[in-house]
């Protein structure tokens, strides 16, 4: 009896919810509208008036930008117009002479070519491999935690350490991969062969960046409602087509963001990798623009030329980012 009672009671509780909810006409006892007590404004104890406060709060951020970005940038710009004599005793203001000289140097054009090739390949490979891995992880979400932890490791590794790792792996005669490559009949020697050296730094740079991209792609994939994918499956889209017509477009905000991040990464943050792995060689085969600035400026002591190079580099990155925002963003769907 008591069991049945409880049962019936539960039924009551369940069905009571659906009481005339359809037109919502169930007379609700009306709350007495209690007027909110007239709120006395919180006594103003702020030292700064409301108008000044936002600017005051911005000061630290502005100061940091000023000290670490605008000031060096302005200095580089100023330096790029100067020529110093060999002993650093006198400087002369030469307008665009440093730039003009730069554009007569074939090794500069070479570095431009290497940089674009390197950055393009690194960004493309690290993005597409990360997307592939993230798509696989997204399917098997149970193992994803282990997977994710394993994949995040490369990101925690310092660039120099990363390239040391790769030097070991690809060291001719010593490294595991190097031996495998040589065993397969390839004359593997990145220390002498420029193309192979470039491949080596590309692999190291890609490896280093994949985990970062992976995390963002995985988060992006998981933000796509499952029911949308299911709807596409019912709508007759096979997995490959589903990916390109639904998943990939919905991922485009993430992809766009990552393209910007990755190109910037390939341009600037790979300095450590290149320096440790190849030092720009052999025969400047892996000398990117950033590496060249570093080399010419710090080691070569050509301050004016180096400053001109970094100004150009800044201009390139600003332009690239602007282009990306203008054109890629148009294809971003929402």
């Amino acid at each position: 009896m008591s069991e049945a009672e409880a049962f019936a009671g539960k039924v009551d509780a369940v069905s009571r919810d659906s009481h005339f909810t359809d037109d919502g006409k169930l007379a609700q006892p009306r709350d007495l509208a209690v007027p909110a007590p007239a709120q006395s404004p919180v006594e103003s104890r702020a030292i700064f008036s409301g108008k000044l406060l936002p600017y005051v709060l911005l000061v630290p951020q502005l100061a940091i930008s000023l000290v670490f970005f605008y000031w060096p940038a302005a200095q580089a710009l100023w330096q790029s117009f100067l020529v110093q004599d060999a002993f650093g005793l006198s400087t002369e203001f030469v307008w665009f002479e440093n730039y003009a000289e730069l554009f007569t140097r074939p090794d500069y054009y070479h570095a431009v070519g290497v940089t674009f090739l390197f950055s393009g390949v690194v960004a493309f490979l690290s993005l597409s491999l990360a997307l592939l891995l993230a798509t696989m992880a997204d399917r098997q979400i149970k193992a994803a935690r282990v997977y994710r932890t394993l994949l995040i490791w490369p990101y925690a590794v310092a660039p120099a350490v990363a390239s040391v790792l790769f030097i070991f792996m690809f060291q001719p005669g010593l490294g595991l991969f190097a031996r495998a490559l040589q065993a397969s009949g390839l004359d593997w020697n990145p220390i002498l062969n420029g193309a192979q050296a470039l491949i080596l730094v590309i692999i190291a740079a890609v490896w280093k960046q994949i985990s970062y991209n992976f995390l963002f792609f995985l988060a992006g994939l998981q933000a796509i409602p499952k029911s949308v994918i299911e709807a596409a499956a019912i709508d007759g889209a096979k997995p490959w087509r589903r990916f390109w017509t639904v998943v990939f477009p919905l991922l485009s905000p993430t992809t766009f963001f990552l393209i910007v991040v990755n190109i910037t990464y390939a341009f600037f943050d790979t300095l450590g990798i290149i320096d440790t792995a190849t030092g720009g060689g052999p025969n400047k085969a892996t000398e990117t623009l950033v590496y060249k600035v570093f080399q010419d400026g710090r080691l070569g002591a050509d301050l004016g030329g180096s400053a001109a190079q970094s100004v150009i580099l800044m201009a390139i990155v600003i332009t690239l980012t602007a282009i990306q925002f203008r054109y890629v963003e148009r294809r971003v769907h929402y």
Binding site: D23, K25, P225, S227, A231, K238, Y334
Partner: protein
């Protein structure tokens, strides 16, 4: 056009939880079957198995002539309307509807024709270029419907398609769905936890509870002859009242407080002394002022809700909550000395232990 047949379908999730415990029913060609039940009873699971989004642990699902258990969703020739609509956010309304046709390689003019046709039926003509985020909830709902109908599938599956809409729109869309389904004559399974929606839409009603099927029948049949306490309490609003009692003599119940309640012994067997639950629909109960008949159950008034087209009188009979639905012309209750009366033939009896109906002629399955 096809019928959908489920035979002893079961679902055990990876964790070992059995969400659907052997369900069998048939949706006839062109019919609309509503699965109704409280949250978590396995409705969505069942529907997703029919759609092919969830594997079937055991049993058979047939759509038309084919056993579809092992077919991919796309091969089953069904269309589904999701609770959150699941529109493709990056596609226009037109592309949302055209997507399924394009995937199947339908020729362009045919796609154009079908989408325009669906848009006309659903009054979406002016919105074809918009993206889903530029639409209201009701319009998104229509697009989701449109996406289903352009494909002309063998069956429609609806998973609580109206639960994200406000009450007024829900009533309106409910009617539209019914009209559309009648017009297209497409076999449909519709999941809801709203019993009113279920009653108004169903050709055939399947009441589920905890992974089991409690009752199958027409809406009216289920309402009039509920097979169990659960169904009786779930279908109907306001819900049925229950009073515990004991069969005193044939045709009479004794309630705990000593009152008596007459029932129709012809409706079902109930031996003397059996402990039962009597079910009384609020709209079948009359309130009497004063206690003319000393043996009639007393009603303790607690609250009156005025609805305009009638009123709900809430109170207690014995220790149990009890609601009486009055028509607008009935005199409002006056005073607190009240008793209830009901036609004996309208009293449902349920076994107190099993909860199964003793008066319902309909079999449990």
């Amino acid at each position: 056009m096809a019928s959908v047949v489920l035979n002893e379908v079961r679902k055990t999730y990876a964790g070992g939880f059995e969400a659907v415990k052997g369900v069998s029913f048939t949706v006839s060609d062109g019919g609309l079957c509503v699965l109704v039940g409280p949250s978590g009873c396995g409705k969505s699971t069942l529907l997703r198995m029919v759609a092919g989004l969830e594997t079937v642990s055991s049993g058979d699902i047939r759509i038309g002539e084919r056993r579809v258990n092992d077919l991919e969703p796309m091969a089953r020739d069904i269309a589904m309307v999701f609770q959150n609509y699941a529109l493709y956010p990056h596609m226009s309304v037109f592309d949302n509807m055209a997507y399924g046709l394009r995937n199947r390689g339908t020729p362009k003019p045919e796609i154009e024709k079908r989408v325009k046709e669906a848009a006309r039926i659903l009054e979406l003509d002016a919105l074809l270029e918009r993206k889903p985020r530029q639409l209201s909830g009701g319009q998104r709902q229509r697009v989701a419907m449109g996406r289903a109908i352009v494909r002309k599938p063998a069956a429609f599956l609806f998973d609580e398609p109206l639960s994200n809409l406000d009450a007024k729109l829900r009533v309106q869309m409910r009617i539209e769905i019914r009209k559309l389904q009648r017009e297209l004559k497409t076999t449909s399974i519709y999941v809801t936890h709203d019993q009113l929606e279920a009653m108004t839409l169903a050709d055939r009603l399947v009441v589920m509870n905890g992974g089991h099927m409690e009752q199958v029948g027409t809406a009216l049949d289920v309402f009039q002859n509920p097979a169990s306490v659960f169904v009786a309490g779930f279908i109907g609003s306001p819900p049925m009242n229950f009073l515990a009692g004991e069969v005193d003599t044939q045709g009479r119940l004794r309630l705990p407080d000593g009152a008596f309640l007459a029932f129709d012994p012809k409706r079902g067997e109930a031996q003397v002394g059996r402990k039962v639950l009597a079910g009384l629909r609020p709209e079948n109960v009359a309130l009497r002022n004063g206690v003319e008949d000393g043996a009639a159950p007393r009603f303790r008034l607690e609250l009156v809700e005025e609805l305009g087209m009638g009123r709900l009188v809430h109170g207690k009979v014995g220790e149990r909550p009890f609601t009486v639905a009055q028509g607008a012309s009935d005199p409002p209750p006056s005073g607190y000395s009240l008793s209830i009366g009901i036609e004996p033939a309208l009293v449902h009896l349920f076994d107190a232990a099993s909860g199964l109906s003793l008066t319902s002629a309909a079999p449990r399955r």
